[in-house]
């Protein structure tokens, strides 16, 4: 039973169609990614699911309810893109105030400790670094003890270390049973965190799979590079059905192929007692898959 179900969502602003036709379902306990280039309709989709915008077409249900149902406001935590707080409010005051909005809030002190904000409780929002502001924003999305957290552009503007810390945090939140919807344009973030990803482009879902599934589906081709201990005849390698091409780069040989390419290449080399030095396997990553999916010509 999915916790979020989106069917044929459509939303336009005046003449501009932001979301043309988006459908997906989010299962309980997963980290679901909404991935896409800027202007693809990711944020609009997330805002419709959050109940901030009314869809022009299609249906959305969140925990079996329409997205604007007031009961969802305490069950769904939302971290919005570019949403700030008052400059003069302190971290402690913000956490206390927002936890007072919920009937059974999470322990804000513990949340602050988990997010590394406990040494900044008396600091004012306006004085916090970008990373701390972002963490406070995440804390406020989680303070009501939600069943679903929708996080939009979670790590934009964070330095690499803060980004990695935030990813660890998201995984630990998922481990407590919270379903997470992550809107992002970072491939690394999506492949590291997400169980499944919907790739949105021009307001439509162009792919929906696990990050590994997306990569495999789009680029079955693999490349292996090595320096053979003795010169190598191409036909030896080309005889294997997995191998489609052999290229030479000085002393380096590059073998292109599909399937279990590494197994095929190593057995050929072993049969001829050739040692492969500096062996490297080049595999396509989500970045490449993404570019192929939404590549603009």
């Amino acid at each position: 039973m999915p916790v979020i179900e989106v069917k044929n969502l459509r939303k336009q602003y005046g003449e501009t169609v932001a979301v043309r036709d988006v459908s997906f379902a989010v299962e309980s306990g997963e980290i679901f990614g909404i991935l896409g280039p800027n202007g693809a309709g990711k944020t609009t989709t997330a805002e419709c699911v959050s109940g901030l915008r009314t869809a022009d077409g299609g249906t959305i249900t969140v925990l079996g309810r329409p997205p604007r149902d007031p009961a969802l406001r305490r069950l769904v935590g939302v971290q919005l893109q570019e949403s700030q707080l008052q400059d003069k409010i302190t971290v402690r005051e913000a956490l206390e105030l927002y936890s007072a909005f919920y009937p059974s809030p999470a322990d804000w002190r513990q949340l602050a400790a988990t997010l590394g904000l406990d040494d900044q409780l008396n600091a004012r929002y306006g004085k916090l670094s970008g990373g701390r502001k972002q963490r406070l924003s995440i804390a406020l999305a989680l303070i009501g003890g939600p069943r679903i957290a929708i996080l939009d552009e979670l790590t934009t503007g964070l330095d690499p270390q803060a980004r990695r810390d935030t990813w660890d945090l998201i995984e630990s939140i998922r481990d407590t049973g919270v379903t997470i919807v992550l809107v992002t344009h970072f491939m690394e973030e999506a492949s590291r965190l997400c169980d499944r990803v919907a790739v949105i482009d021009h307001g439509e879902v162009v792919a929906l799979d696990s990050p590994a599934g997306l990569v495999n589906a789009l680029s079955a081709e693999q490349r292996i590079r090595f320096r053979p201990s003795v010169p190598l005849d191409d036909p030896l390698l080309l005889a294997a059905p997995e191998v489609t091409a052999v290229l030479h780069h000085g002393p380096q040989v590059e073998v292109v192929g599909t399937g279990n390419l590494l197994q095929a290449v190593t057995s050929v080399l072993a049969a001829h007692q050739i040692i492969a030095n500096d062996l490297r396997i080049e595999q396509a990553n989500l970045d490449e898959a993404f570019v192929r999916l939404v590549g603009r010509d």
Partner: protein, 244 residues
């Protein structure tokens, strides 16, 4: 929830030194400065035998309402929208309208404290008589506050940013306070100017307050004008206010 939000809004307001000074202390300072001028403490036949300082006690009250209603509240609310604070609240069980209400409550509390301070100082230092029709004074105060705050809400509904709200508020502040008698008490104005003032929010507010200070009830005209501003601008603000 509402009480917590109001307390939070009050705290945040008092952390801004400039608005705090002008809305909370400046009306009292005005009373002290004008009260220190000896001739202002003498009966003046030009204004019907009252003392100038008697008139300015009421004007000081309209001054705090104008500061809060036209300048502080509109720019705070427009800034809250600009910063996405209202949008964030819309994702929580607290509706953003609750924050609007809390902001208005905080402004009203500040106005009450500021007015009480100005009137107390006027009474103790310059022997200004406290409103002899206290119920009428409370009524006049609330009508004036609601009328002016409704205009402030309307400003914050139609401007795009906090800065724009500040500009519009300041542009309205000076003519409004002119008709309330900040530079020349209404009683000293030519009849035509007084008549125009009767239909401005702070002119009507000052008149209603003055009527209650001198033992009467707010006139039907002043009350109608203030309720009119509340209804027209309150309705307009409710229709036009954008949360994001």
């Amino acid at each position: 929830m509402f009480t917590k939000l109001t307390v939070s809004e009050l705290k945040l307001l008092f952390r801004e030194p400039v608005p705090t000074f002008f809305s909370l202390l400046f009306p009292t300072i005005l009373v002290v400065i004008l009260g220190s001028i000896p001739s202002f403490r003498e009966a003046n036949p030009d204004i019907g035998g009252a003392r100038v300082i008697d008139l300015y006690a009421g004007i000081a009250v309209t001054l705090t309402l104008a500061m809060l209603g036209l300048q502080v509240t509109p720019s705070v609310l427009a800034l809250y929208r600009e910063k996405g604070i209202l949008r964030r609240l819309a994702t929580t069980p607290a509706r953003p309208s609750l924050l609007l209400g809390a902001q208005l409550a905080a402004a009203l509390i500040t106005a009450i404290v500021s007015s009480a301070l100005a009137l107390t100082v006027a009474r103790l230092a310059f022997d200004v008589r406290l409103p002899s029709n206290f119920a009428g004074f409370v009524l006049a105060f609330l009508l004036a506050a609601l009328g002016v705050f409704a205009i402030g809400m309307f400003i914050s509904a139609v401007v795009p940013t906090g800065k724009a709200a500040n500009t519009v508020g300041t542009l309205l502040f000076f003519p409004s306070m002119f008709f309330a008698g900040l530079w020349l008490p209404r009683e000293a104005m030519p009849a035509a100017l007084q008549r125009v003032g009767d239909f401005t929010p702070l002119g009507a507010g000052e008149r209603a307050l003055h009527e209650a200070m001198t033992g009467h009830w707010p006139s039907l005209l002043s009350a109608t004008v203030l309720v009119g501003y509340l209804v027209v601008f309150g309705f307009g603000a409710a229709r036009l206010f954008r949360w994001s």
